[in-house]
């Protein structure tokens, strides 16, 4: 006999990450598929998957500060940039124009997260003074301040238009830049990045889930929904907004420290306002304030160009014969989805999944 799924018999099962056996089975299955992915997918698709995982990590960060704690942040991309340059300096190669220490990933990965988190802490007092649109405006200013520094601190970033090489992939003394062979299994650099990204994505995803099921997440939601009531319940707004910015920037920093190793270089122009806004769009499309939403949104956003390419090829209009090029179509489709989700499904892709799931749960008695 099937047990009642909503009946919890003890506190532990109620607060578990996966509350049902089905969810556990799915997780293990997905994990298994993920581990085998590099053996079945082409390089092109593997790069998209890896990018999706890293973008998901950064999006979780934005979801913490904006989705959970309700603090508008238009400068999330800047923190990704801070992570990228921290790793490039600590783990990258020095040249005549930029500094670099070629240290191991075991150093640059946590330090990149920590530096971004620290800058997040430094700007968080702004959110204690300003709310809503005003906070949005200040974070907008941070995008421009960030761009200015990124362009002008040439010994760190290489300067506008030029950029610098990203960190080297060295882990526990192993040089992974040219891949690694374990027995007769050969992993290329991109496969290695993929596995690192996968592990980080799982760990940080669990971290995001843990926040929601503990005091920290509850305090964030309280501040988001009713800050005066939250304060009257003993929640220190200043402290918790600081936590939100710190955690959010930490996620961004971690993602940023790795993501540019895929292409090999970072250029200051990347961290534009549009780049920051992309994360907002991803969180909206995925589902604001949900744990899985940013993951869905990140995959959707990153995979979209690939999918559009496939469709254009199938229609035979890939190269010529169509008045819009692939890039333009991408932007239009993406813009369309943002509006669609804002208007029709504010809970994003997560919301659609949630409804589908409930529909099939009730099947065949669905109406």
């Amino acid at each position: 006999m099937r047990k009642r799924p909503d009946l919890y018999t003890n506190y532990k099962s109620e607060s578990a990450i996966f509350s049902t056996l089905t969810q556990k089975v799915w997780f293990v299955l997905l994990l298994f598929i993920s581990l085998l992915l590099p053996f079945y997918l082409s390089n092109y698709w593997m790069l998209l998957v890896t990018t999706s995982l890293l973008i998901a990590i950064a999006s979780w960060g934005l979801n913490i500060v904006s989705g959970m704690a309700g603090q508008i942040n238009l400068a999330h991309g800047v923190f990704v940039g801070i992570g990228a340059y921290t790793s490039a300096v600590i783990g990258g190669v020095a040249t005549s124009s930029v500094i670099g220490f070629e240290l191991d990933m075991i150093f640059w990965l946590p330090i990149s997260g920590a530096v971004a988190a620290l800058i997040g802490v430094i700007i968080s007092p702004v959110s204690a003074r300003l709310k809503g649109l005003n906070l949005g405006l200040v974070t907008l200013a941070i995008v421009f301040i960030g761009s200015h520094f990124f362009s002008n601190l040439k010994f760190i970033t290489g300067g506008a238009g030029l950029g610098r090489k990203a960190a080297k992939l060295k882990f526990l003394g192993f040089d992974l830049d040219s891949g690694i062979s374990i027995g007769n299994l050969i992993l290329e650099k991109n496969d290695v990045i993929y596995y690192f990204s996968l592990i980080l994505c799982i760990l940080l995803g669990i971290g995001a889930k843990n926040l929601t099921r503990t005091k920290i997440g509850r305090a964030f939601s309280a501040i988001r929904d009713r800050d005066i009531a939250a304060e009257a319940l003993g929640i220190n707004l200043f402290k918790f907004k600081m936590y939100a910015f710190a955690l959010s920037s930490f996620y961004a920093g971690i993602a940023g420290s790795i993501i540019f190793i895929i292409s090999g270089g970072v250029e200051p122009g990347t961290f534009s306002l549009l780049y920051s806004i992309t994360f907002i769009a991803i969180v909206i499309i995925g589902g604001v304030g949900t744990v899985l939403g940013p993951l869905y949104g990140a995959f959707f956003f990153t995979m979209l160009p690939g999918i559009i390419q496939v469709i254009l090829h199938a229609l035979g209009v890939a190269d010529t014969g169509f008045f819009l090029n692939a890039g333009e179509i991408e932007r239009i489709v993406f813009g369309f989805f943002i509006i669609f989700f804002l208007v029709f499904e504010p809970r994003g892709i997560w919301g659609i999944w949630f409804r589908l799931r409930n529909y099939f749960k009730a099947w065949p008695f669905s109406y």
Binding site: I206, N210, T214, K215, R218, A219, A230, A232, I235, Y243
Partner: protein
């Protein structure tokens, strides 16, 4: 016999909003373990008194001491953490959350760990969360709201929402509980329920209760002391039976000036 001490004391408190004088030179002491009622017509300044106590408003002149600390130097969350909790006249629950989550947020000050531990869901976190849950379950038991535990606030009737807001305040395990018109908008039966809960909170849990009501009936039966407010001024302070006989109070309620 124990010596009764003041938990909160108002000294010549005035509060202005531009031209509006919400409070005029109000002074009174609230003794530990009292069930202290504040009554008065709408706009008399009752809610302003509560907002001053929990630090949302700061007096324009005069001072308020809470457990002998000056409220001017404390943020609302610091005042809350001294053990002062409250409900609001217009329910201020977190509507998108379940009743249980609301009550758990009430237990916030008893849960002790930081964000990094939270990310890892460490042993300490699990223990502290269990403690928060235990506190919340006690409150749920006490207020007889077991069946609404997992309901979202928006799906609950008004009377139950009021009770859950009371639960959220109780989960702070406060020393002093401020209730802003807890029976407003309720029918007779619900009002009786609330009155019973307030008495239990006062007597069984030993919490000092400060109770606002615009109407005298409920208060008269349960309060140990009453202050009557009118146009920002204290008209009367004393025991409830005397208030009903006081000419100034009768005039205020009949609208005679």
């Amino acid at each position: 016999m124990a010596i009764l001490t003041e938990v909160i004391s108002f000294k010549d408190v005035s509060l202005n909003f531009g031209g509006v004088q919400a409070l005029k030179n109000v002074s009174f002491d609230i003794k530990e373990n009292s069930l202290f009622a504040i009554i008065g017509p709408n706009g008399a300044g009752k809610t302003s008194l509560l907002n001053c106590i929990n630090g949302i408003y700061k007096p324009t002149t005069g001072s308020i001491s809470i457990f002998e600390k000056d409220s001017k130097e404390l943020h609302p969350d610091e005042i809350a953490n001294l053990g002062i909790s409250r409900t609001f006249q217009n329910i201020e629950l977190f509507e998108n959350m379940t009743a249980l989550d609301n009550i758990l947020i009430g237990a916030h000050r008893h849960v002790n760990y930081g964000p990094i531990r939270s990310l890892f869901y460490s042993k300490k976190v699990r223990e502290e969360e269990k403690k928060a849950r235990q506190i919340s379950e006690n409150v749920i038991d006490f207020l007889e709201i077991e069946e609404y535990r997992y309901s979202f606030i928006l799906s609950l009737p008004y009377g139950i929402q009021k009770r859950i807001e009371l639960g959220r305040a109780l989960a702070m395990e406060p020393k002093v509980l401020l209730l802003d018109e807890p029976a407003a908008g309720m029918n007779n039966e619900e009002t009786e329920d609330i009155a019973r809960f307030i008495l239990d909170i006062h007597e069984e849990l030993g919490i000092t209760v400060i109770l606002i009501d615009h109407d005298m009936n409920m208060v008269m039966d349960i309060a140990t002391e009453v202050v009557v407010m009118d146009f920002g001024e204290k008209l009367f302070q004393g025991n409830p039976a005397d208030a009903a006989r006081d000419q100034k109070v009768i005039d205020a309620y009949l609208g005679v000036s």
